[in-house]
């Protein structure tokens, strides 16, 4: 992964040798020769851990989707605390101007391959707050894989979205493609740039 502002030579230079090069070789070996691609897709699709970022009131139904009646854990999805260990973000409703920065930062903190689900009318086109002066459409800041309509959507809809995402990961080979080539086959990893943190930086 290229980082802006760092010379190509400096990249990947860490204490324990050239990790980037090592990782590349390992990738070639594992995916190319051992045909682990299918297994990676299978593992990723059954290990979608959503990061614990509650943007708004759809969080109620998000919580209910992991409650005993709908139990999101049956899909192997476990809401997790730190963004570094997760690979799925569920935008739960309205994203306000203040929250947009948090969404963007959280998304950037997550390791690839990562996925995003937009939940609720507010996360699609603002819902009932479509003309509010304080909201941001989340698809303007991060690339969304699945959209769930409803206000709030039923917990089954969240389950439906996870099932759909799992199927598309397996059928399109998103995770293995990422491991091999470092790109998402279907979508760019980064959405159109919009500086949502400008209010913070001042």
């Amino acid at each position: 992964m290229a980082i802006e502002g760092v010379k190509a030579k400096e990249q990947g230079k860490v204490y324990v040798g050239n990790l980037d090069e090592t990782a590349k070789r390992a990738k070639q070996l594992l995916i190319g020769r051992l045909k682990l691609g299918k297994a990676v897709d299978w593992a990723t699709s059954f290990s979608l851990w959503p990061v614990h970022l509650t943007t708004s009131c759809c969080g109620c139904e998000f919580a209910a989707a992991w409650s005993p009646r709908f139990d999101g854990e049956q899909f192997g999805a476990l809401p997790w605390v730190g963004p570094r260990q997760t690979n799925l973000i569920i935008i739960e409703g309205t994203v306000t101007r203040k929250m947009a920065c948090a969404v963007k930062v959280t998304w950037d903190q997550m390791p690839a391959p990562k996925f995003a689900i937009a939940m609720g009318a507010c996360a699609l086109d603002g819902g009932i707050f479509y003309n509010s002066y304080n909201i941001v459409r989340p698809w303007e800041i991060i690339p969304i894989d699945v959209y769930i309509p409803g206000c709030p959507p039923r917990p089954e809809s969240v389950a439906r979205a996870i099932v759909d995402l799992q199927r598309s990961i397996r059928s399109k080979g998103i995770a293995s493609k990422w491991v091999e080539e470092g790109v998402r086959p279907d979508k760019p990893l980064v959405a159109p740039k919009q500086d949502v943190c400008s209010w913070w930086r001042g």
């Binding site: 002066y133 304080n134 400008s198 209010w199």
Partner: protein, 170 residues
Amino acid sequence: MVEGLRFMKLSEEMVRVVIEKVKKELGDLVKSVEEGKGYISIKVPLNRLREAAVKLKNMGFDHVKSLTVTDYKKKGVFEVMYMASSYLDEELSRIIVSLTVEIDRNNPRMPSLSDIWTSVEFQEREVYEFFGIHFEGHPDLRPLLLVPDIADLKPLTKDFIVKEEPIFKS
């Protein structure tokens, strides 16, 4: 049943008693006292607001439920209402009094009451960002909810216009 905890539906009689009491207590401070729908409106001049607030607090109105500001653009004033009520006094807790002042829309400055009623502290911060009313003597007057660039627009004043979409699809 404990005496004093007896249930009584709020009657006009009770409201009238409280109005009399307020009138007696506040004396010449008030411009007018009248009964509104669900509250008693006490209008006071701006320069005697703090005096009136102290007296109300001593009467037993120990907290503020709502700091309501209305923008009357045509009149050129902000109407600021401190809706106070009581927790510790069983009888007064049924009544809500609103301590109302009008301030100039173009120079929105008024004394802060957050040292009299602590419960109003966050609401004064909120009013500060939404209307730009500067509360003199507030310990911590910063925007509370909004990001700075929107707080500059003073979104709850009538100058800030939000449009609704028409019912026809273009």
